[in-house]
Symmetry: C2
Subunit: 454 residues, 2 copies
Amino acid sequence: METEITPSDALRNLLVEGDSEALREWAVELHPADLAALLRDLSIEEGVHVFHLLPDEESAAVLAESDEDLRTQLIENLPAEDLSRILEQMDPDDAADVVGEIEDPERFRKVLSLVSEVERAEIEGLLVHDEESAGGIMTSEYLAFPVYWTVQATINFLRQAPPDTHFNTAFTIDNQGRLKGMFPIQRLVWTPPTKRLMEITNPDVLSVTADTDQEEVARLFSKYDLVAIPVVDEEGRLTGRITVDDILDVVQEESSEDMFKLAGTSDDELVTRSARAVLTLRLPWMLIALVGGGVCALILGLFETELSTYTYLAFYLPVIMSMGGNIGTQSSTLMVRGIATGQIGGGGIGRTIFKELRVGLLMGGICGFLTGSFAAAYSNLSGDTPLVGLIVALSMTLSMTFSTIYASLVPLTLNRLGIDPAVASAPFISMSNDALGLSIYLTIIRILQPYLAP
Amino acid sequence: METEITPSDALRNLLVEGDSEALREWAVELHPADLAALLRDLSIEEGVHVFHLLPDEESAAVLAESDEDLRTQLIENLPAEDLSRILEQMDPDDAADVVGEIEDPERFRKVLSLVSEVERAEIEGLLVHDEESAGGIMTSEYLAFPVYWTVQATINFLRQAPPDTHFNTAFTIDNQGRLKGMFPIQRLVWTPPTKRLMEITNPDVLSVTADTDQEEVARLFSKYDLVAIPVVDEEGRLTGRITVDDILDVVQEESSEDMFKLAGTSDDELVTRSARAVLTLRLPWMLIALVGGGVCALILGLFETELSTYTYLAFYLPVIMSMGGNIGTQSSTLMVRGIATGQIGGGGIGRTIFKELRVGLLMGGICGFLTGSFAAAYSNLSGDTPLVGLIVALSMTLSMTFSTIYASLVPLTLNRLGIDPAVASAPFISMSNDALGLSIYLTIIRILQPYLAP
């Protein structure tokens, strides 16, 4: 039987053997993304060791591909000289991300002082922007030509300095550096050389400013099927470029963010290895939920007499509460995701809420009927009054309907107030849903109590 | 005060005035994506009316940008002749999606018979693929040149037939049509004309086959920062191309899918207007959850004696159950998302589960201690035994720890069995978490009962 050697085993063997030359040769053959994935499973000392062996260009690519946990470790543990040499090899936007992660101000200044003046200026220019804004994801590397240049002049320029990029969009600008439009570089191939760039420039170009939220930028890419978008300042001067491959990461990131927020935690969980760090992420919401649980206990305390007389009424507490929670989660997921993707908003909001109301009533009615029938039958068997079936059916229908409306309105309201609907929805909704369902059930019990057998 | 006229108002006014010429002129000025968004709010008759006025090319663009609900309506309600003319103007992959949505086989054949032979062959070639596979998202429009062509020959060809695409990747193939590699078209601009394409071809090219899952394709794009990927058959012959802008939609779609599945419903909710349709999406999971609720009622029934004697023990049912549910949701979200983005898997699984176990114990300990203290204090005030504090603290710690482990293992196991971890996790976990928490609480009550005051 042949045993296949995984890349992970190969790396471990090479590390044990201690043959640095063999390790280097093996590592540079790998795609930087694959190497970054393998380094994740090593200790930080081993990771730094492998990093030392790599040529700077390769190190730069691996660092750009690493996930946060490994990156932070490498950024903190590599000598400042090595780090600055690696930065020189990175795209300015990636380099700015790395420098931005250095926490020690002393080290921050030292690393920056070691990079070349040009690179430092670019990095510093990008560092001022919020990480989650257009400025934070744009790169200062782009091609921009005066709109009056001829195709031939542009070709000559490109022959002298071939751009090192997969993307083929070039911008045109006027004398003041203001954006005039863009054109695909490949068009130069089949345009007569004497034509001017203004003739192949598409002036109908969307642009954003550096402070535009990255989620908004992603929405533009996805809505208009964009490949690249220029970033301009208030005077319309070109300052950067965002390409669709960066947006792919943004979309992944924003979806993860919303998903984790809906569960009352953060997508930082995906990159941290430490249980203590996870605890700090989850604890705040858990404490809010605990307060909700305390409120539930107090509400139940008010009904102690009823509960001790008709103990069987407690049997249906869990199902009434959890069904309200379930349908509430569905409604709030719909709203949070719909707002994020732009599929809910504008004129459709009223219609969407009305639809949710009908869904809540229908679903509550069906579930209430089924659970009520079960309760009536069970009570009948145990010799209790089947009236409990009616109480359960009514409570479930009402609590599920209210949950639907409540869980729809909270995200919409938060969004209108400019608060991220994902972050605040989970705590608010979960906390109140339990208390709501409980109150409805207990109130109906109190109303119908005269008809219950003692 | 000036009143701003929204595009939606403008459209409505133009429809009421009935000036078709004005309506047409206004509509063609809009970006197809914007027009598609506006049509969503019209009745289907009005939508078809606007569609009739548009030139076929504009209609094609709007149809490609429409969301599913509007698309389906338009596809069903446009005359077959109009639809086939519009199809001619669409990219083959979009056209195949539209044709694939026609439900009536009669109409399907009629529409296909009306399009040109070339377009029909392309559409039929694409229709055989699963919608969520590489074949389903690829386009059959791509540039491929024999690898022995010179740069000049390629430029000459492109001058004759300039490609209508934003993307600048061209493929090179051998005599048998097998993929040799790819090159950015723009490189032709600065490469000496006598060189052969093999000299600028990058042979290190990832490719997929038509049956590769679209989620896997998206993972490749995101991991290796790809711009385009070729699709090949078993013999390595080029059959299609997928570009990063299509992947943007896939990533959005797959994230929505997982999010909605985690809430026990489907992302079809984002595009449907009908409450009845939503009901069918949500009901299956709700019924499973109801069964779970019934089981909870039966478990509580077994403990009727204890509950009627020590009613105050029922006060803490809600908080113990919901905290288990909360932490379970967090763990399963982490697993489902981590598996989807590729951040959890391979060697790290054991470590991730061990981390979750520690998180569960820590969090359960903290929450158990807090709730237990509250219970002890409350009982003391009401003259009951403070021993209930210990019972609550123990139960909460245990049930939160178990929930964490259970909610982590279910998605991982499902994934290993080849079942989508998102779809089955929610029903399984939610149903069992409630019953689990309840059983733990009631068992501890029964064990410690001798020490409770009568």
